[in-house]
């Protein structure tokens, strides 16, 4: 009889881990082969001697709370990046349009509009503040 002990022992490990069945063939081999029999016994000894590592673990609320805080910060960061990307896109579109208009010969009018905006935009601030106050009151 030329049994492949290694193969048998691999099957025994599967049985030990409940991933295989202890077939008749295996059983009779363990009974007859001292090598595999001692292997089988050792498997059980190993199981009995595996350290429990059983520490009294207590739920640390700070870890959970900290995780939620971290997520908040991460989401804020992501939002800022999104906003920045949106701003950059809109700004480049506007700049592109201005450039195109300037190229089409409207340079002078653009500069005039700019001057007009620089002078008159600050005048609208009190009006905007009033609008905001009305909004907050309602």
């Amino acid at each position: 009889m030329s049994y492949n002990h290694e193969k048998i022992q691999e099957k025994l490990m599967d049985v030990f881990y409940k991933e295989g069945e202890l077939t008749k063939e295996l059983k009779s081999h363990i009974d007859d082969c001292s090598e595999c029999n001692s292997f089988w016994r050792d498997l059980n000894t190993i199981e009995e001697n595996i350290p429990s590592f059983d520490l009294n673990i207590e739920v640390d609320e700070r870890v959970i709370g900290g995780a939620f805080r971290k997520v908040g910060i991460l989401k804020e960061k992501r939002k800022n990046i999104k906003d920045l990307a949106l701003f950059a896109t809109i700004a480049s579109i506007i700049l592109g349009c201005v450039g195109l208009l300037a190229n089409m010969g409207y340079g002078k009018s653009i500069i005039l509009v700019q001057i007009f905006l620089v002078i008159f935009a600050p005048l609208s601030i009190p009006f905007m503040i009033r609008q905001r106050l009305v909004k907050e009151e309602s």
């Binding site: 691999e10 490990m13 599967d14 030990f16 881990y17 991933e19 292997f39 050792d42 498997l43 000894t45 190993i46 199981e47 009995e48 001697n49 595996i50 350290p51 429990s52 590592f53 059983d54 520490l55 673990i57 739920v59 640390d60 870890v63 959970i64 900290g66 995780a67 939620f68 971290k70 997520v71 991460l74």
Partner: protein
């Protein structure tokens, strides 16, 4: 299990309280698993928090085809691997401390303290991938298939890693 499903549904809709309950329920599993891997409480706490961050961010992606704890263990395994890669300095400083605590409550009649210590020492010396497989099988009773899913490797690999561990441990007998 039913309660977990209900809580998951709520958590996926953005209910923070449900998600908190789920994370609290699974805290000990994640922490215990990582502690067995790292044997260092500070590192374990840090990675546990990272696991929760990932879980909070990705809870909507969790399909529910496994238990939540399995999903979290899988995240923990990945983060542990990342952590190892980043810093190869996970110390075994606290092994002594751990072993003293657990050998206090073992039944001396069946269990040989010396063997437990030897096994523990060897367990910690195993390459991390083999150690993960061994811990998942021996402490959490996951099937080969589940371990394969968690560690993202074929069942054959799981099997051979476990067999490697057993053979090594047997040499201590």
């Amino acid at each position: 299990m039913f309660l977990e499903k209900a809580l998951l549904e709520k958590a996926k809709l953005g209910d923070r309280e449900s998600l908190e309950i789920l994370l609290r329920d699974n805290y000990k599993i994640i922490y215990g698993y990582l502690l067995k891997l790292t044997t260092n409480e500070d590192i374990t706490k840090d990675i546990t928090q990272e696991v929760m961050v990932k879980a909070i961010l990705n809870i909507k992606k969790f399909k529910g085809d496994s238990k939540l704890s399995t999903w979290l263990i899988s995240i923990a395994s990945n983060l542990y691997k990342d952590n190892l890669r980043k810093s190869n300095q996970i110390s075994s400083m606290q092994i002594e401390e751990l072993s003293v605590k657990d050998s206090q409550n073992v039944e001396e009649t069946v269990i040989n303290k010396d063997t437990v210590r030897k096994i523990e020492k060897m367990l910690l010396d195993f390459p991390y991938e083999k150690r993960m497989a061994f811990i998942l099988k021996n402490y959490y009773n996951y099937s080969y298939e589940e371990i394969g899913t968690i560690l993202k490797c074929p069942i054959g690999t799981v099997r051979s890693r476990l067999h490697y561990c057993i053979k090594k441990l047997r040499s201590l007998m």
